[in-house]
Amino acid sequence: MKIKLFILAISILSLSVSCEKKMDKIFDENPTDRLNASVADVYSTLQSNKDGWVVKYFPSSALEFGGYTLFAKFNNLADVTFEGDLTTLAPQTSTYIVVPGAGPILTFDTYNRIFHYFALPGYFNRNAAYQLPGFLTAQIGAVNEGMKGENDFLVTKASGDSIVMEGRKSYNKVVFLPIKSNEASTIIASYRAAVAKFHAFSNYRFEAGTESFPATFATAATKRALLIAGNAKPYAYRYTPTGLDFYTEYDVNGVKFRELKYVEPTGAYSKGYFTNDAETIKLVPGT
């Protein structure tokens, strides 16, 4: 009898405690609600800056084609307008959507001649009809891949001062920075002027301390990613009105840099050079 009572007591105890394990919620809302909220947040942030965004776009996970500055304006819940520093083509409008996935996914879901140029296989980008005025006039990249740009991006941060996303295939980081109203009318021209000025340069060498490191282009046609001897990964950059903005922080001979500013020709540097604030590294165009 005692044993029976004991078993009964244990059973009752275990039953009565078995459903007490309701976990404290870390978030007040359930995951789906939070994801829906973040999608809504991305929509509103994209449209929040009426002058649009500077887009730092680096296609291809290997970064061999370098980086480009695009200018995006999200006009309403459906339409986006792109321009680019690489082309004089008039603004191109197409559609976009933000959907819940592993987070908010931004997809440019109808063809935009400027934005999707980067995603066209060589089979298409070799045709003049798909090329961008002022940019390449021949096939770029493999016949089946082109510049390996993409359509879908996972948004990892969305706020008024920047939107950060990553390509769903390349995982490359894409950064959107808001265009200020006082620069809206001139910014695109200033970026295009920078491309016109700096793109003429070639035969680069890095100078760090007393050493010199010749650099070649990872892709001669685009001239936006440098290879130095002994380093298989290119140093990819965009042209900016002040100089070169690199994809990430790179290192030459122990000197780290992310951005190099242009210094006009002086002394032996007949084409000028790009350098960091401390002037501990110089990127010098050759003749």
Partner: protein
């Protein structure tokens, strides 16, 4: 007394059981699935009124990654080309079937349920392209909308090869999955089917015809053969069809095999679906000359 002694623990247990798990929150009255707030544009409305409502067909003209082929690098279809293709498919595919059958119900019941549009085409590493694909007869993927401009929209050959032959082909798969065709069809060239080696075994149309197939792809399997014969026949006039059968390298023996299979396809379509393939073909090709003046872009 003994009964009561036994009952008490049972009652207590039951009480515990009923009370132990009553801590459920009430279900939220709001759904987690949020309706899209994206405003419908003119094409959205056109597709709803001309495809979804009458035919129960959904057209995905915007790129959706999970509906796309992730193996290839693809770009979305241009909006304007999507309008062109939607109007042209209505004119050259949906309307002919509905007119020949006498109602829209036939397509509503049997037509592929999802059609996706893509701007570029899947390009393989060797540069070979794929023009259209289908999955299990429910979804048809149409590519190359980038090339669908005003001029190409007037070109029956471009439209047939790039889009509508694929649509008819996949539609035929659905039809014969619902009502099987006679088994004697596959006996006619039963030993000639080569599965995935179709493009290496027959490298020209003439060689395929000589072996009794209307195209190299028709030699893949009897189901593909049936769909190829059907789609080649209804999208081309007799002269053009004869030209295929007389391609360089073809033989009279091969042509005889093809025509005997074609007779089975025709009789199957007539007896099982009430469709006279010659009437359908006549309806379709009578529309080709009208393409010159067909309005590809106005939607209302």
């Amino acid at each position: 007394m003994k009964v009561i002694n036994k009952l008490i623990p049972i009652l207590i247990s039951c009480g515990v059981l009923f009370s132990a798990c009553n801590k459920e929150d009430k279900l939220d009255s709001k759904s987690v699935f949020v309706d899209s707030e994206i405003p419908k544009n003119a094409l959205d409305n056109y597709l709803y009124n001309n495809y979804t409502k009458p035919y129960n067909v959904e057209i995905l003209y915007k790129y959706v990654d999970k509906e796309s082929n992730m193996t290839y690098r693809l770009v979305p279809a241009p909006y304007e080309s999507s309008i062109r293709l939607s109007k042209l498919m209505l004119f050259l595919v949906m309307e002919p079937y509905s007119e020949v059958v006498g109602s829209k119900q036939f397509l509503r019941d049997n037509f592929p349920k999802v059609i996706t549009y893509t701007g570029s085409v899947p390009v393989q590493t060797n540069g070979v392209i794929i023009l259209g694909t289908a999955e299990t007869g429910t979804k048809v993927s149409l590519y190359n909308l980038l090339e669908l401009n005003e001029a190409n929209g007037k070109n029956p050959e471009f439209l047939t090869n790039g889009f509508f032959k694929t649509v008819h082909h996949e539609f035929q798969h659905i039809l014969n999955q619902n009502k099987p065709y006679p088994s004697n069809f596959k006996e006619i060239t039963g030993l000639g089917y080569v599965d995935d080696e179709w493009n290496t075994t027959y490298t020209s149309v003439g060689a395929a015809v000589a072996a009794g197939f209307v195209s190299p792809y028709a030699s893949k399997a009897d189901t593909e053969d049936f769909a190829e014969l059907y789609s080649f026949y209804v999208t081309r006039g007799q002269a053009e069809f004869d030209a295929i059968l007389n391609s360089s390298g073809s033989t009279a023996a091969g042509r005889t095999l093809i025509l005997s299979k074609l007779a089975i396809v025709k009789s199957y379509m007539k007896s099982e679906w009430g469709i006279d393939m010659d009437m359908l073909r006549a309806n379709i090709i009578a529309r080709y000359p009208q393409l010159n003046t067909f309005d590809q872009t106005t939607i209302n």
